[in-house]
């Protein structure tokens, strides 16, 4: 079988290019550090920030070590419930990343299947699916998520909602953003399906599903990787925004967004660290993922919306 005319860059070359791009390499290092620290957080921290029994209200609102009144037991201070900020932030980063990755996994499965179907089958199915995608996109993820979660919260009551927050956030963010994948994949499929190797496979009488799965999908993989990376950043941001509005993770199990929300009430009384420290981590997280996504987009060069 013919290899496609434009072979995607080999992974080894990509890796070397990433390390030679200073911004992307720094972003990757930062992201790896954050991910590793949050993955290992159960072994790193002095207390479990989600276990109320380990919290002491007498320890509440202790400033970080370098400020006046800081104590060495809580190097980054404590929040209003006496939670060690370092522990809470590491756990929160883990939650944010987990929700982001799982939500993007749902988006990818939905969006890639729909995009492949729309692009390969074409015709009326394509028209219908893309119309649905357009409507969903124009409604905006965040708006859909806010309204959906608001309804769930009223439905379940705040307490039950808190217990279900992780799966709900994953599903809502996951379902709301599938058009991003579907549109990109469809565009790539349309470009691929006119190429010789697809025509050859069709001439050999291979089943459509086989052609799509084994021949087209590997050749649109690079655009899927780019979209997936950028989508993780936007999913993390969406989770933080929803938690900040009180429609996400509960205060007893704070993600970065929920910590920022909890600290925001105290910001006027000079308690800056509960808000500012998680904010910095959140920005570092999103910025590093975005920078890697930008690098991958330039390196793999698939056709994408220019606005992103």
């Amino acid at each position: 079988m013919n290899a496609p005319a434009t072979a995607p860059p080999r992974p080894v070359g990509l890796w070397r290019r990433l390390l030679s791009d200073r911004a992307a390499a720094a972003a990757l290092g930062l992201l790896a550090l954050l991910a590793l620290a949050s993955a290992l957080s159960p072994f790193l921290v002095s207390q479990n920030p989600y276990d109320p029994a380990q919290l002491d209200v007498l320890d509440a609102e202790i400033p970080p070590l370098w400020s006046e009144g800081g104590v060495s037991r809580f190097p980054l201070g404590t929040d209003a419930q006496g939670r060690d900020m370092l522990s809470a932030m590491l756990f929160g980063t883990g939650i944010s990343l987990t929700i982001g990755l799982l939500a993007v996994a749902i988006q990818a499965v939905l969006g890639v299947s729909i995009g492949l179907a729309a692009g390969y089958v074409g015709g009326r199915l394509d028209g219908l699916l893309m119309r649905i995608a357009d409507i969903q996109l124009s409604l905006s993820t965040l708006m859909v998520a806010i309204i959906a979660l608001a309804i769930f919260q009223t439905l379940f009551g705040a307490e039950n909602f808190g217990r279900l927050a992780v799966p709900l956030l994953v599903v809502v963010i996951g379902v709301a953003e599938w058009p991003q994948f579907a549109r990109t994949v469809r565009g790539s499929v349309l470009a691929e399906r006119a190429k010789d190797y697809v025509l050859a496979a069709e001439a050999m009488g291979l089943a459509p599903l086989h052609i799509v799965w084994r021949h087209i999908l590997p050749n649109v993989a690079s655009s899927i990787i780019v979209v997936a990376t950028l989508q993780v950043a936007s999913a993390v941001m969406a989770e933080a925004a929803l938690s900040f509005l009180g429609l996400g993770m509960p205060v007893s199990q704070p993600s970065l967004g929920a910590l920022i929300r909890a600290g925001f009430d105290l910001i006027f009384s000079g308690v800056w660290w509960i808000t500012m420290l998680p904010s910095l981590v959140l920005i570092a997280l999103i910025l590093s993922i975005n920078l890697i996504g930008d690098f991958l987009r330039d390196a793999l060069n698939p056709r994408l919306d220019r606005a992103r």
């Binding site: 996109l137 124009s138 409604l139 905006s140 993820t141 965040l142 708006m143 806010i146 309204i147 608001a150 309804i151 919260q153 009223t154 439905l155 009551g157 950043a233 941001m237 933080a240 925004a241 900040f244 509005l245 009180g246 429609l247 920022i260 925001f264 910001i267 006027f268 800056w272 808000t275 500012m276 904010s279 959140l282 920005i283 999103i286 910025l287 975005n290 920078l291 930008d294 220019r306 606005a307």
Partner: protein
């Protein structure tokens, strides 16, 4: 609109027990039952449904449980605040993104252009509520220059309360409006730049230069006009997101607009208010999309709305 109204009914039918929310834990079962009867919550679902449909057709979405006034009226009384916030943010975006994007397209390798593009990556990566929090911390808490919450002094013009006419109102408006625009600005700068780079590369631009037109005419009349269609499309597409960001901005700055009210309604399980908000947003949405379609025709004479003038 139909879909939204259907969701609205479904939500109303399935949502929790507002009687309990209202009376609180202390109220006796008898009191609760009396309230339920008064609100008509004991009637069969189909009857409640029919009543809701009929009332909605008259613009009556039920009385807010908390405010004891028609929900639609409560929502619409907050509309001016949100509208002025969105309008100010849109003005800021338009005023800054066009020159900045143009400049970046004309001098893509210039130091300033690269600085703007670098900042725009940062701008996209900072969630809007953090921009708001940082702005409050710097300008209100540290420097004490600008107020951090509310609308300040407003002037009432008939049914419309405006903060455009007093210095205090404008001072209150500044931080929220800049915050709201900060998230859209990078997106539009990047788009203006990208579209202009594409357009300036085309043959008719070369023709325009060859005709000896002054640079600003080539850039504005020929270039920008042809780059405008994707801009308007993006504007229309981003509108839903803008509404969502408005909720976030209003929350950070306690801006007494519709989004702030909506979240309050969610916390108090004020179902009619939640539904009314969804309906109003739906109407705004349809209106904006219609305006976008009309703008297409104004910008590009080749597009017609299906009606031929001649």
């Amino acid at each position: 609109m139909v879909v939204i109204s259907l969701i609205g009914f479904a939500v109303k039918a399935s949502l929790g027990d507002p009687a309990r929310e209202l009376t609180g834990e202390a109220a006796s079962a008898v009191e609760r039952e009396a309230l339920r009867a008064r609100l008509g919550l004991d009637d069969p679902l189909s009857l409640q449904y029919a009543r809701f449909l009929a009332a909605a057709a008259h613009g009556d979405l039920g009385a807010s449980y908390v405010f004891k006034r028609p929900a639609l009226e409560v929502i619409l009384s907050k509309f001016p605040a949100t509208f002025e916030l969105v309008l100010s943010a849109a003005l800021i975006v338009a005023l800054f993104s066009l020159p900045a994007g143009l400049y970046c397209a004309l001098r893509p390798r210039g130091l300033l252009a690269r600085a703007i593009m670098g900042l725009s990556v940062l701008g996209i990566s900072v969630p809007i509520f953090l921009t708001g929090i940082f702005a409050i911390t710097l300008f209100s808490v540290e420097l004490g220059l600008l107020p951090s919450f509310g609308r300040g002094q407003t002037v009432t013009l008939g049914p419309w309360e405006t903060s455009f006419l007093t210095a205090d109102g404008l001072a209150h408006l500044l931080l929220p409006a800049v915050t709201l625009s900060s998230i859209m600005l990078p997106l539009f700068i990047r788009l203006v730049r990208g579209e202009m780079l594409d357009v300036l590369d085309q043959d008719f631009i070369r023709t325009a230069w060859a005709k000896g037109l002054p640079p600003w005419r080539v850039w504005i009349s020929h270039g920008l006009r042809n780059a405008a269609i994707p801009l308007v499309t993006l504007g229309g597409l981003q509108f839903g997101t803008l509404l969502a960001y408005t909720i976030l901005t209003e929350t950070v700055f306690q801006w007494p607009g519709m989004g702030f009210l909506f979240l309050d309604a969610v916390n108090r399980a004020d179902v009619p208010l939640i539904i009314a908000y969804m309906m109003v947003v739906g109407v705004i949405f349809v209106t904006v999309n219609t305006i976008v379609d009309v703008l297409y025709v104004l910008i590009d004479p080749r597009v017609s709305l299906g009606v031929r003038a001649r």
